[in-house]
Symmetry: C2
Subunit: 285 residues, 2 copies
Amino acid sequence: MYVPKEVEIIEVGPRDGLQNEPIPISSAKKKQLIRRLADCGFSRIETASFVHPKWVPQMSDAEEIARFSQELGLTYLALTPNMKALERAIFVHVPQIAVFIGASETFNRKNINRSINDSLTEYKRLIERAKKAGMFVRGYVSMAFFCPYEGAVSLEQVRNVCESLIKFGVDEIDIGDTNGQANPRLVYERFLKLQELFQETSFVAHFHDTEKMALANVIAALQAGITKFDSSIGGLGGCPFSPGATGNVATEELVNMLEKMGCETNLNVDLLKQLSSFAKSLSSR
Amino acid sequence: MYVPKEVEIIEVGPRDGLQNEPIPISSAKKKQLIRRLADCGFSRIETASFVHPKWVPQMSDAEEIARFSQELGLTYLALTPNMKALERAIFVHVPQIAVFIGASETFNRKNINRSINDSLTEYKRLIERAKKAGMFVRGYVSMAFFCPYEGAVSLEQVRNVCESLIKFGVDEIDIGDTNGQANPRLVYERFLKLQELFQETSFVAHFHDTEKMALANVIAALQAGITKFDSSIGGLGGCPFSPGATGNVATEELVNMLEKMGCETNLNVDLLKQLSSFAKSLSSR
């Protein structure tokens, strides 16, 4: 069994984890979470989203959170779903941005109200602009295994969106099992094939723990050579357009497993375990 | 990644799962659980323990449960920790018995109040007698990775007890991560080595989900060539002599994962999911 010497864990709790919380979370509490996450040793944290507050009110303090992340000296990621969002992110000097697209047409339409093609047209301009501004760009591919509306998602569908994002210049692609329906065998096979198809591309694995097999999927992805994983402290998260989906793989559980395997994460698992209850206290789930 | 075409899941909920429940569970309820488990398609279920009722009052109806299991046409396992227990099991024609031993001296003494050597001396006679009675014999090796009292358990310690059990004639050896402290790398390495050392022996993997990595451990064990797994419906279980240990890997989660990977269990996952809530209702945890 292959165990890499080191992996990178990217914490996505403050953004992916909290964005759909129905009850507003104060900026002060978010800052407390981000500061304590920084203390755990993350080199990257996804802290904000510049989506219009009409769509995601929980993220309406994006500028404030971005400035705070900057002050902490963090390399942070922020979601920028359109040009307007990108301009806001550029204005506050966000170092890393992310765009997202569904591998399934139906999910993309329900999630961002646009066809995959229309999304890609927007992202072409957006990524060009972001690269000119010196930003690192992450491309999220959601529902890369199964879709709650279409069922099984083919490698072909995933390949198509990856191909476009890579052509546009993304620095990494994040493959998401957004509704937590993947399984270790599929994870292994899909990541192996994607890396064969796009040999220069850096892939990140993003698992949800809906069926309790997120950690098993991590083991499978490691076997396929993946060394970057998203996770969410306390397992925060869920997706409003993905019925029944639960949170991301919990950071403290992921780090605990990897460290026990002798795979370095450069994170403090004891601090993470302590922080987990605070993170859960922010969630109404 | 290696995925075998088929695996055997052995349900241990009615015995390992329920034995430590502080509130008595009626024989009628146990029978209901066993009957419904049989309906799910198991070829083997561990249903009873012939341990003295003074030590495990929850199992005091062993004869009644054994007869019921027989009537259902089940191939069932029952625990027989000493000669007296074995004679009771022989009397009601139990087809498969199990003995258990800790790989760590301290645990063995706390768990069954005997040294490993004294246990082995008893088991030599016991297994001889059981084999003469035509019984299939399982040898449980508990704390085969970590011990709550001694910490890391060495391969040497596990090998020593396996060696004796094999010499005495056991038909299979069940390697238990009794306190759920193993990790996928260790699981893979240990099972690989044990199978190298004892090439004729059939090993079973028995994981507890204390650290949420039981399913990841299953993936690791599969990679090492293991194709028999214990599990407990609803994740029932725990161990009174293993502080903080939680239940076995949940049967419904294990079967769900394996079936999704295209690995046949010959079990009905929908029935298992339905049965899971009934099983949990029997537990006071």
